[in-house]
């Protein structure tokens, strides 16, 4: 489903952010990506989402290859890959439900269906009461949950969640990760970047990859 082969990423002024990263995530896997701040977690997820292209190596996601997919085709990939951004990236001046609906409207889903799905998603992340609140009227954790609901809206094959619970309390965090697990059981690949080692430890059957200075230094799947 996701395969990185000898991927390196160099930013113009800043040198190598990722060096020779290779891993393979198969259908149905549930992965935690950990590592210190600045280790390269977000960079890795952005490469999978094809928001960046690797400087060398190849990224393959669900049939899309970073070497062959044209910019004008990336939208097809994006509908199969949900992304919970570390900084949320909600559309300003819109309500919580408008933000979630946007990801569905994009696919041309009929309006009635959009409305129903949005309502269900907001309920799942515990925000049904805030559906009509504008983004700037939401607390940090509430915004994060809108971002989560949006990433799940299209029922993607892959969910990339970048620090999805950084603004959530323990209770809400468990709720969200349990939600991810449930959908994961239905087949969705989940890759969650997180610093929260406590969280990682509480899901002992998940695959854990640890990054350090742009390389994968530990991968629980490789030990088996």
């Amino acid at each position: 489903m996701i395969k990185l082969t000898n991927v390196s990423k160099e930013y113009p002024r800043r040198g190598l952010a990722l060096t020779d990263v290779s891993f393979h995530v198969r259908k149905g896997e549930f992965v935690f990506l950990t590592g210190h701040s600045g280790a390269g977690k977000t960079s890795t997820l952005r490469l999978i989402h094809m928001a960046e292209r690797p400087t060398s190596g190849e990224v393959r996601v669900s049939g899309f290859s970073s070497e062959r997919t044209r910019d004008s085709e990336i939208w097809k990939l994006r509908r199969k890959v949900g992304f919970v951004f570390q900084d949320f990236r909600l559309l300003p001046h819109r309500t919580a439900s408008e933000n979630v609906a946007f990801a569905l409207e994009v696919t041309g889903a009929p309006r009635r269906e959009v409305r129903m799905r949005v309502q269900r998603l907001l309920t799942q992340v515990g925000l049904s009461a805030k559906a009509e609140a504008y983004v700037h009227e939401l607390s940090g954790g509430e915004q994060q949950r809108v971002a989560i609901a949006r990433a799940l809206a299209t029922e993607p094959l892959v969910l990339l969640a970048d620090e999805p619970t950084g603004n959530l309390d323990e209770f809400a965090t468990r709720g969200i990760i349990d939600l991810f697990r449930d959908i994961n059981r239905l087949g969705m690949v989940v890759v969650t970047a997180t610093h929260d080692l406590g969280l990682v430890r509480s899901y002992p059957d998940a695959r854990v990859m640890e990054m350090k200075e742009g390389t994968i230094v530990y991968d629980s799947a490789r030990l088996e």
Binding site: S72, W75, R79, F85, F102, E105, V106, R150, T154
Partner: protein
Amino acid sequence: MPYALREALAAFRRTPVLTGLSSAMVALALFVTGLFGLATHNIRRAIEQVEQRVEIVAYIRDDAGRAEVAVAEDEIRALPEVLEVRYFSKDDALEVARRELPEFQEILAGVDVNPLPASMEIQLRPGSRTQENVSALVARMSAYPFVEEVRYGREWLDKVFLMRRVGAAAAGVLGSGFAVAGVLIVGTAVRIAIFARREEIQVMRLVGARDSFIRGPFLLEGLLTGLMGSLGAAALTYVTYVTVRYSLFNVAWIPGAWVGGGIAVGALLGVLASLISVRRYLEGA
């Protein structure tokens, strides 16, 4: 209501300051063009009125027969470029001279034969008052044996024609200057407005929107901004026109086709500017 339209209208609600300012800018840019149109149109009308006085006078020999002149008069009158032909007899001429040239009154009174010739005055049709037509007609008149001399106020007429050329050139230069400036201002206004929303565009891409899907509402928004701006410009120009007309002097309103054209251009510009800007930000992210 289709998605793109709904979103475009929502933009006016979401960022009223931004869309308000951009529409205002479009209105002002096109108002400048509107004012210029008003001025040009009226100057052109004024020049046309002056041109109306273009006339060719043929002085007729004293020995010409009245019948022979009348035939020529009909011939000339039948020409397509001729509007009107009037005959002035020797007596008419004396009358006019007495009235209009008081310093010669004494002289004319003292003379017992009328020294002034009869004449034929020819006016051209509005569309045909060109230098070529005038020259051709002068040549034709001179060819009649009973015509002694043909006059057409060469100097004055040359001035009118020059005025027309200068006027047209000035209108061309100023008009294209204003038009280009207006176009660029409209374009720039819409582009700045979209610049302020570039992050939104990038988020939309990240969420899986096709470029055409993102573009739709922005193009419509550009169209609406351009349209609102143009209508505002038309209104501003009309208010100016009414104010001038009732407080300063009589001016004519711009032809409807110009107004329509201006509004269409404004709307089109809004769309084009959006297209250029959105494309620019779609290339990022």
